[in-house]
Symmetry: C2
Subunit: 353 residues, 2 copies
DNA sequence: CGCATGCATGTGACCGGTCACATGGCTGTT
DNA sequence: AACAGCCATGTGACCGGTCACATGCATGCG
């Protein structure tokens, strides 16, 4: 009995055409097609036209996978982050995606949930794979920093935010959070507040021996420069509930008249705690947020905060990652500096009787 | 003169070992290594052990790219969405990523910014590539729906949210927004409001002839069932500014006592507009949001809203996409139904003098 | 005891691109 | 006129996996 050999692969509906198919249709070799795809100058214009026509008529699209395999690395980026929802992270991600899409490049996301060695290793292995392409590590917090430090040197990666350890050959791009926090603190001091309390985001001082985060440092800078007392730092989680708890503590202390919050979400929790304690904002206590999330202009009171160009940071990191991936020169990042946005939540301190 | 042939590739630092290297180290063929990697039962236990030892000592990781090329499709997913920052989208994305990571699979993101044919085509081409793996289209809005409809049948894709067109063979998973909106509307009617106004998110009725969005339909359902008048729909953009404008319009009308907002961001803009118009919430006007974004419990007043399990939706879509990718059976999605969360922004209507 | 059967393993081809090098035609120079 | 040199293009190998099929050895059965 004669058995008809079955096709090697399942007959995929509409098997995608390859450069060989295009070559046959155009009457040239596959290499010439490859040259056209890569915009090589050594192709006669008429040949190029013929190839392009064949590409068009066959609906050919080059395979990113095959190209990545041949080239050794995917032409795309993977973003490593500890979070995708919080505003600073999400907005950075948005800038990254936007820039990647503009270049026709793929973007992947990998979340790292804990700094445990096993998970850090998994993450590092993941982005070590060639299909990850260039890597951008969002190092706003200890998790991102842990991944950054564990990354083998040969992985083409850049960091968003300054690395905790002094530069070890990795490109790092950061917004000037230190300056921003100093400006915000100064604004409160200028209004007449004796000092400014600070409810910090988790990243700040989260790890033993870590370089103090920019926001924290800026706050201290301004207080020190003004000769104001430096109150004890209030730690806080990313969740608003813990910000509320921090706000309760501050509300119970009568000499608290100005609070710099690590971000706008924290400001929201603090504000509600003050409200529940019967304290008026800004009548009794002034608060300043950080990030300028979209809703903050519509709160009651509208929040005075610092606008951060996270999208710009994302775009800059993308271009840096591509430079790292292709071995090109590092472009000069163009970042919009942070800007204090004055709204309704800050005012002079109440007069003491 | 004798020219020493240069190495074919640039000497990549620490060239990653391949299965051939592992095979050599373990004294077996590359196919046996492949079998071990794929957990084939036809490998002798001792051979398997030897191979695993070689893998361990060489630090070998299989190349996702090579596997994808050979298999015809990447073992991962790509999410197509019109937005990554708005809560509903971001939370769905988070659920997708979480589920993908749990399975050790890669996740990519592709944003589609306009429904113009050229951009839709680019997006479709992008996910048509084998490296995209399984595709999840977040079809909360006309952009997502446009991509979904333009997707060739052979692309393994599923939709988050019900497709506008009646099922055309695509798996679609949605939260019960219609029921949720009806519940929220009913809550307001139960409080004694004569009717409920609705400020809708852009997706609702955005396209000519589109099936009305679930939220819109549910709102109408409840009003109709109660025999309440159905006010004119107020359209609104995704930006809070337009929600503020919608709120201004509603504030100027004295018979508006209850507003169902298309999402919590809209509720924020509407609430501020009411505040600026001197209307108290909930004293004069009750408002209900949608989504239960993290901060809504801390607003003043805390927002009554509908909690939506977007993360669960994301997880369900991931599993559906994998089933589509591998040809396995579609699992039954396990979704937490929406839940009305009663807080401070709703109350009985003011008494008329 | 001979041969079919099954299991563990190996060999070759292939996925769809790119790189290195070869080839052949045309032009320019001496 | 002969040869060098450039240009356009073609050929073979390779990236790192997987699939189809072949092989060799041990076992089971009549």
């Amino acid at each position: 009995m004669i058995v008809t050999p079955t096709p090697r692969r399942a007959p995929r509906t509409a098997a995608a055409p390859s450069i060989r198919d295009v070559a046959a249709a155009a009457g040239v070799s596959y290499q010439t097609v490859s040259r056209v795809l890569n915009e090589s100058p050594r192709v006669r214009p008429e040949t190029r036209t013929a190839v392009l026509a064949a590409i068009e008529s066959l609906g050919f699209r080059p395979s990113r996978t095959a190209r990545a395999l041949s080239l050794g690395r995917a032409r795309g980026i993977t973003v490593v982050t500890s979070n995708t929802v919080l505003y600073g992270y999400a907005a950075t991600l948005q800038g990254l995606e936007e820039a990647a899409r503009a270049e026709g490049m793929a973007m992947g996301i990998r979340v790292v949930e804990s700094a445990e060695p096993a998970e850090v290793k998994q993450t590092v292995d993941y982005v070590g794979d060639a299909s990850a392409g260039g890597v951008v590590v969002i190092a706003f917090d200890p998790l991102g920093i842990a991944v950054l430090e564990a990354l083998p040197e040969h992985v083409p990666a850049v960091a968003a935010a300054e690395p905790a350890a002094p530069d070890r050959g990795r490109v790092a791009i950061a917004l000037d959070e230190r300056r921003a926090a100093a400006d915000a603190t100064q604004h409160l001091l200028d209004l007449g507040h004796r000092t400014v309390h600070h409810v910090a985001i988790p990243s700040e001082g989260g790890r033993e021996g870590a370089v103090p985060g920019g926001r924290l440092a800026g706050w201290r800078d301004a207080l020190r420069a003004a000769g104001a007392p430096i109150p004890e730092l209030i730690g806080c989680g990313w969740d608003i509930r813990s910000a509320y708890a921090a706000g309760q503590r501050l509300a119970s202390s009568p000499d608290v008249t100005a609070i710099l919050c690590g971000n706008d979400d924290i400001a929201q929790g603090v504000r509600r705690a003050l409200y529940d304690a019967g304290k008026d904002v800004p009548g009794d206590v002034s608060i300043v947020g950080f990030d300028d999330i979209p809703g903050s202009a519509y709160w009651t009171p509208a929040l005075t905060t610092v606008r951060m160009d996270f999208a710009g940071l994302g775009r800059a990191c993308f271009h840096a990652a591509v430079a790292e991936l292709t071995g090109g020169p590092q472009p000069e990042p163009a970042l919009t500096p942070p800007a204090l946005v004055l709204r309704e939540s800050t005012a002079p301190p109440p007069h003491h009787p």
